[in-house]
Amino acid sequence: MIILQGFQAIVWLMIIPYLLGKFITSKDEEKNKMLYTWVIGTCIQMGIFFVLAIPMILIRFKFQTLRNLYFTIIVILCMISIWLNRGKIIKISKFNLKSISIFQIVAIILTFLQVFIIFKYSNINNDDSSFVVLSNQMIDYGEMYYYEEGSPLNARRALAPISAYYSTLSQYLFVHVTIFTHTVFPIVLVILANVIYYYLGKTLFKEDKDSPYIFMLFMILANYYFFRIKGAGSYFFRFTWFGRSIVAGMLLPLLWKISLDCMNKEKNKIKDWLSLLFVVLASCLCSEMSVAIISIPIVILTIINSIRDKKLSYLLKSVGVLIPCLIIAICYLIIR
């Protein structure tokens, strides 16, 4: 059983996101972007779930219907991705042992140390009990976000259906949803966060080989051992599975990285804007606070960059990217 669970975890948390990410990064000339493809693919995986889940929750579909439909869509998309990218699924440049730097080694060791802490120790916080219980109840009773028959919808939870997402993935992995939420998924999220810090560093220090790793090391240090403990990253590493901590520690840094790519005179590629859209969708899945803490940065960055580059197209594309936040805000005002 453990072998099957491990296999399913690799498929659903690594291979499938990678295949989905290929839809956006397949045309990239840059090699060794496998990890970035994985990051973007995870956002796509979450984003598709969000788009599917919201109407199904509002129409009061059963959880099992959502789970089965999502499974079908993801499998079809993966098959399309494999077909479109046949022969070029994996692009790795030649591995050169001499090219590895000390900073790279330390960064990898620190990442494994983080994973070990998450695997070995527990950071119990009762704040999350209600949304993990909700996940559990969906599996046991099949109802999504309606506590009892005839009761009103729990809008705050339902419009950021991370509980439903955890339930769905735990079912595919044949793992208890609490184990998935507290043990399995945080391991993946921590690695993803470090990969995001690395790529943010890589975007900031383009030509330098060591600097992205040094940047990543300082990010890890700041998150774990800095002068305050209420920071976004610290919150993420303590309570990795909380939806709002995923937004704060992972998706916001990814947003900053992508904003440097897409709001850029030289690049300004549609694939980067699509990546940004999926970051927004993934954020909306994770937390109702995304309506504010994702849309405000995008609006501000758009205005600043539009003025700098004298490009009105940034504004138009940003409006498109922010449509999910707008819809959720309207739904929230209507339902609550």
């Binding site: 209600s130 405000i296 960055l301």
Partner: protein, 272 residues
């Protein structure tokens, strides 16, 4: 819907102050360091895109977060208690990490780069504060990552075959864990309880995670056996979980319950 309804400038100003102190509580050092880094970026950064992201964007976010009208509007979407998280929009750590890296990047030799990185790491490790320093991190023997005693209790009730409908009353500290393991176990109360207090001399009730004032939780923790059993009878509760180290007026066995399991200093009683 009128977003501006009830807008009071002075009240919003107080809220902004409260949010600021909540987020930057006792962390003046990091605030100073962050401010210096932003200044450094403004003065030295030649790449406009980076200056915009770590300079002008940061200032714009601060203007937004310190804007009373924005705070008033956002209260329609976000609980005030969660609103300090608006500060997450500020890339504090990326700005600091960027400046440190920039300084190291400027060094010529690799050995100097390594030495400088080690020095900065050492300074932060000596004067910084671990995110686990406030406690909370513990080792458990289960992958639920919940206290072992809670897992034991949930399994004991779930596996018991006498009652198909599982209804239980457990110590308050355990109430938020049981349903994470088996959601079919119905509890007399969960983490969010009704709290009774007096407001302007009138009794008031509210949902809260502070059990103080909740009669059932208080009577349970006081070990008032008769009250607990009477409540269980009225609510058809068939399992009681009690801390063996806590005071209990009379054993539950005197009131038609039997002990079915015991571990980690907790006993599980079942209605006979």
């Amino acid at each position: 819907m009128n977003f501006f309804e009830g807008f009071d400038f002075n009240m919003e100003k107080e809220k902004i102050k409260a949010l600021f102190y909540h987020f930057f509580d006792n962390v003046l050092l990091s605030l100073i360091l962050f401010s210096l880094c932003v200044l450094y970026i403004f003065l030295t950064e030649k790449n406009k895109k980076i200056r915009d992201l770590f300079g002008w964007y940061v200032i714009s976010i601060i203007i937004i977060v310190w804007n009373p009208l924005v705070i008033h509007i956002l209260e329609n979407f976000i609980n005030f208690s969660s609103m300090y998280r608006l500060y997450y929009m500020i890339p504090m750590y990326p700005v600091i990490a960027y400046c440190f890296t920039k300084v190291i990047q400027g060094l010529s030799k690799k050995s100097k780069k390594i030495l400088c990185t080690v020095i900065i790491f050492s300074v932060v490790l000596i004067f910084g504060k671990s995110i686990y320093s406030e406690g909370g991190l513990r080792e458990v023997n289960n992958f639920y990552k919940l206290p072992d005693e809670s897992v034991f209790v949930a399994e004991a009730i779930y596996k018991d075959e006498k009652y198909k409908e599982k209804r239980a009353i457990v110590p308050y500290g355990m109430s938020s864990h049981i349903q994470q393991i088996h959601s079919t176990i119905q509890l007399a109360y969960t983490r969010i309880v009704k709290s009774y207090s007096l407001e302007n001399g009138l009794p008031s009730t509210a949902d809260t995670d502070d059990p103080a004032g909740n009669e059932l939780v208080e009577k349970f923790s006081e070990g008032d056996t008769k009250y607990i059993v009477d409540y269980c009878n009225s609510q058809r509760i068939n399992y009681i979980v009690y801390d063996d180290n806590s005071y209990l007026e009379e054993p539950f066995e005197n009131y038609g319950f039997e002990k079915i399991d015991s571990a980690y200093n907790f006993s599980v009683y079942r209605r006979i």
